[in-house]
Symmetry: C5
């Protein structure tokens, strides 16, 4: 019982934390001038880590860059070389401000990068493209989706990527560049941007699958052993899907404008790949919507199954009472103290009464059955 | 009882398997370079089967092609001859890669063909058109819809079709070509593509009709004998409709862009037929939506009918108890042992009491009736 | 009771038949070549009846045409004369095929005319316009909406109309032509087409009014005497509205494209009238949607009223039991056989106990009242 | 009790009449030729009343016109003079027909004016603009919204307005013209049309406020004293909102096309005012939608509050029974007549038993409390 | 108990006041000529306060202006100087009328400024831009959102801002101008307008966060200690979200037209900032919608948790009764007074009966457990 209760409590705790994740705090930012660079998230890493990768079809170099040496990362634009600068950790606003000026970013872009509650969007500026979206990760321990803000700035021959904390989402892309797998080395910065976007979308599938696993477990639980915490768990999954939906729904719009606004930064060849990433995003959104339908249906099944059980229990208990109440009345009759109560003096009254009561009991039982109350 | 339980359990098992079908696993693909050809489905057939059909108005030839001889299937483009290559089984990625290169397919197309969880879509490439959609089949044994991914590549004088497993959906088209029935022999590859699409959409009608049959049975069951597994079955049908909806809804978009983007591959004459296929698809979607409404209504009827029954039972049981409780009180009164309880010594007290209790019982009964509680 | 049950059963039977009407069988058509003319409905009339009407401002002639003489109905196009050919009964596919060739119809048009489960739509062809929509009729006996497919082919100087069975929808138009009432004789085939469409839409109003009558009866029943079959009837009306909705919703699109695509077949003058028919169609759709809202509200009222009654009953019954249970305990006390139970020997114990119990009963009654449980 | 019942009955009567108002009867019109002028409403006034107002910046004349003298109202178009003809009462179709011909109205316009179930719309004709919308009025006595059809024909220098019955909606405009308040005298017929439209929309605010008052009363009732008729009243308000919604929703479209289609009849200056009227209409629609949300929420509160009360009652009653049932068992034990039942002969058995039973009672009470069942 | 009741009552009071806030009274305005300047709100401040700020990159002056000296605030347009006139308090219609004439405002603009129930919108006029939106503030004491109408008129070198009551929303902007922080001093009136809009949107985030806090508290309450007033509080939050939604939803449209209609008043540089404000607005709307989903889910959890508790209570109570009813029957049997009732005379009958009853009780208990009714 104790374990069961703990598990129920845990399930409920999880529901509780949803609002906190949905409503991002911005408190300290209120009233600041636009373009003010204030980090609104938690500090998730001690000091920012900057990784530089520079490559063309033949060459590949990678380096960890010190925040102080950031200026050296922007060499004169040499045709054919792509520079990818990945920054983990967004709390060093000074660094980001400096980076913004080096790369010629609009003040609002730097502000958006560090305000970690952005809605996914893409914005075209004169010299570069700004894309911000949500990185999702399913945390097995807490059974929760963890969100992170991911921003990209795409220039003619560079890509800047920003993460709140170091993660492994981009490792596969890094590997592909290093090993010159696929086309990434022979194509420009726009293809690199696509590859990073695609890696993010790929993570969504993983999250969707994990939530799908939870749904499957819950389907089984609902049917085989519906318990109070099952409902809490379904509500938890529903809430996770609300979180996902909020993070993913704007992607449709993001990709649509990216594909429609014929920005010169993205070549026709890369656009085909972006269309593919768009299809994947729509696929994930579709699946999330379908899972919302399924979880709603699951809750319906749970509720009707619980109410069915409850009804059956109450019916059974009421039946028992109903069987004995008339019998109690009968024995009450012969407990009366009338002077003239002839049956009391009959020889076989007692056993006959037993038979009679048995008959009454059986008749009621049969009647209940025929009415299919039993 | 045992059979009833088994049937209920079976109904529930079916619900359970829905999530698994909705969320397609892509696990092993995560992080791969775009264009990587990895089959994400189960292997449903031992080795791929390739069928070649080549025809014009006068000639018709058909052959089973060995994977090794695939290169021979692409002869120099000879005007007027249409080549249809049907591939059953998608796990031989080597073959598909080779085929993709022979036919000049974009890397993403080959990738999409083997990633079997695609959302229906159509894409225009320079030399060909790629169409992917879901083949549906109603499995009578498991009472489930089975999904399969069907892909088409339409070129100026060829059509490539890909199925996960051999099926009979295209048999009717094959027959029509062989027997030169209808216009298929006198028209080009675009008409063949339409004919295949139309055959797929035709299958949807069959599935819709089978689910319609289920709904009809459930309508009857709900009214004549609502049981626990009836609810499970309704939920099952609702889930099947969710599955269908996910597979069909994007078709509207697919056909709309196919008709609107005036691709030179599709002639004006064929476009009229595509419009017809579009109408059929919309008709199926309409019907699925209507069936969703109906099944929701059905569940409402079921629930209110079950709750009505339950209420009637509880009322009847409570009525019995209520009838006897006052009577039990009365007999209790004369079971008291007071020294001075005059009625105990009256001569006709006992029979009079019976009459009185009868009177009380009948009055209550009449009163209950008048209140229409009975 | 017997009559009540029969009426409930009838109400339920009606619900049952909805799915059958929604999902049109197409079984035998599966796999046929497009353009194949197969009648998918029931044969509702022994042999098709063809009525020819030909008129201009001065002249009017009408004739029943034998299927064999159909070729004679298409005279050389003589300016100013409008030919209206009405065909009742669609199972003679041979005749329709022939008619299609005489009038130069596309194969798909003829196919659509006889596939009686079409979604309302309009299609523009080179020489004519094809319009298909649903004729609705409220059958008083079965209290059901009966659907029929109505197709129109509009050419420069002719209109072909097709009905599944002879009906009186077009009688008013026929009369107007014969008596030269309104403008129909002075205008072309496009106006005739409009007049026929308008007649069909006019029928919708009749159906809507009949369902409105049903809703009004149900409103009254719900308030005055809610019974089990009332719920069944509301569900029946809801289902009828689902049927209507499916038939009417596409009309909006039909008229919109008809008005927007500036087909030369429809003159500017007639277009004004088509806009009016469009308004009427939208009005009907609006009303159907509103009735859906109303019927949903009605079901809510019914359910809450039934549950209110049930609750009141259970409360009353429980109150009776609760009144007597403490009293039964008291008399039980004095039924005990203790040697030393002083009250038993008091002179006035018995009457005093009665007074006491009366007091307890009244106090409880008053308390219940004050708690407004009674 | 009697008054309460009457009030509940009244509340229910009101619900009943909603369908009748939603579904406008058109019975007698079916099958008539388009353009046939048949009045479909009730005759609300004995004979039509025609009011003529003619003004320019300097002059103002007003007159009651006899139906026979209607022809005299259309003088030769003299620049700068605006003629406003208001007709109350639509059953004199002869008059309207004549008026239609004098003003050069399309046959369909006259038909629409007298068919009083029109959906709000605006139509542009060659020489004039036709606008039809619903006039709403909240009837304090019946607590219902009363609808009326209002039509306007706007020409280059005249406005015709049609009402089903004389009302005071236009009095304020009349006064403004007479007293030359605002700009109405210095602007053309298009501004007059706007002023009339604006007056109609202004009435909507009044109705919305009255329904808002009802909602506020119901909010109070639900919280302080939820009774059966409260639910009926909420349903009544919901239905009134459905009525309003049907009347108002199309306004959005009406104003949008009016503003977008740059009709020469409406000057740029007037268009600014029309945009303002449009904003007001959207504001009303917004409020109606919000009130729908509120009333749905209110019903939820009512239902959960009623069910809460019911549950508390049943729990209390069951608690009383549960307290006494074990005690009744105990006294039953000592009512047994065994020869060897030692307790019966103990000296203090009876008072000890009382103490014991008191102890049992108190323990159960405490236990119930701790379980917070009490 | 008393405190609990008071808290519940308070929670309910709050719900009650929602309608009043949603439906703004306009009573006294009905029938007035358009452009009539009538203040429809409450008088929130004794006399209007006018603050003048005039600046360019170098200079900054601020002054409190007397209503009488208003004319002096509009100096000849001197390039580069931006004038910001903030008016707190809208009831002095005379002043506003005068101000309107000085600034050349359209009559409808002045009317809209003082009619405080406007829907957020923006309107382009020849010489200026009019923007009206809702200022929101979360009142900690009443736990309610307080609304205020904020209007802006943006001219080529001036901004007029109107508030119903003095507030601190614009203090941060004022400070930024004074201290020449950010870009506000170096940019024109359009940037100032943006800065004010942005300050308003920033306030929305604060309100959203406060409501988020409430939701979090309720989440905790629902899980740990669901009480009646919890439901009332959830309904309260739901209503607050309805209020927010009504105020925010039109913002999407406002910003979209502002960005799309390329008004010359807003420079390209400022437009980038407006796009940012638009993103923030959409972010708030998204969050409000998500919170609506969450609060609906919360109510579901509350209701199912309450019903679960109720069911458990009733089951427990019924179980107790069911345990004792058969035992009461048994002791009733041996309370009968038959002459020949052999068990009564057995030596060990009484203790054996106790054992038997104990056995019955335990068996039932075990049976209940096995049925998991306990």
């Amino acid at each position: 019982m104790g374990r069961k209760k703990r598990s129920a409590r845990l399930a409920q705790k999880r529901i509780m934390r949803v609002t906190a994740r949905i409503i991002r705090r911005r408190g300290k930012k209120r009233g600041a001038a636009p373009g003010t660079v204030i980090h609104t998230g938690e500090k998730r890493i001690e000091r920012p880590r900057i990784t530089l990768i520079r490559y063309d079809a033949q060459n590949f170099e990678t380096a960890e860059v010190e925040p102080a040496d950031i200026a050296g990362c922007f060499p004169p634009p040499d045709a054919g070389r792509v520079t990818w600068l990945n920054i983990d950790g967004l709390h060093d606003t000074e660094l980001l401000h400096q980076l913004g000026q080096l790369a010629g970013l609009h003040g609002l872009v730097v502000e958006d990068i560090v305000s970690v509650g952005q809605r996914p969007k893409q914005e075209e500026y004169e010299h570069n493209h700004f894309i911000v979206l949500r990185g999702l990760r399913y945390d097995e321990a807490s059974r929760q989706i963890e969100e992170e803000q991911l921003s990209f700035v795409v220039g003619p021959d560079y890509v800047l990527s920003f993460q709140e904390a170091p993660g492994d989402s981009f490792d596969s892309v890094r590997e592909r560049i290093r090993l010159s797998r696929g086309q990434v080395r022979t194509r420009g910065a726009d293809y690199l941007a696509y590859a990073l976007l695609d890696a993010v979308v790929d993570e969504y599938f993983v999250v969707v699958e994990r939530i799908g696993d939870r749904l499957e477990e819950l389907e089984q639980a609902v049917i085989e052993n519906p318990r109070t915490e099952t409902a809490a768990e379904i509500h938890h999954v529903k809430n996770e899907l609300i979180v996902m939906r909020k993070a993913l729904w704007p992607l449709r719009d993001l990709f649509n404008t990216l594909l429609r606004d014929e920005s010169p930064l993205f070549t026709e060849g890369t656009r085909v790949y972006l269309r593919d990433a768009h299809d994947h995003a729509v696929q994930v959104i579709d699946t999330v919507e379908t899972m919302r339908d399924l979880s709603a249906g699951l809750l319906d099944i749970y509720l009707s199954s619980v109410s069915h059980r409850m009804n059956e229990t109450m019916k059974a208990l009421t039946l028992i009472a109903t069987l004995f109440i008339p019998l109690t009345f009968i024995v009450g009759v012969y407990g009366m103290n009338f002077d003239y109560l002839p049956e009391l003096h009959w020889r076989w009254a007692y056993p006959v009464l037993w038979l009679f009561m048995l008959g009454v009991g059986i008749s009621m039982f049969v009647w209940f059955r025929r009415k299919s109350w039993l």
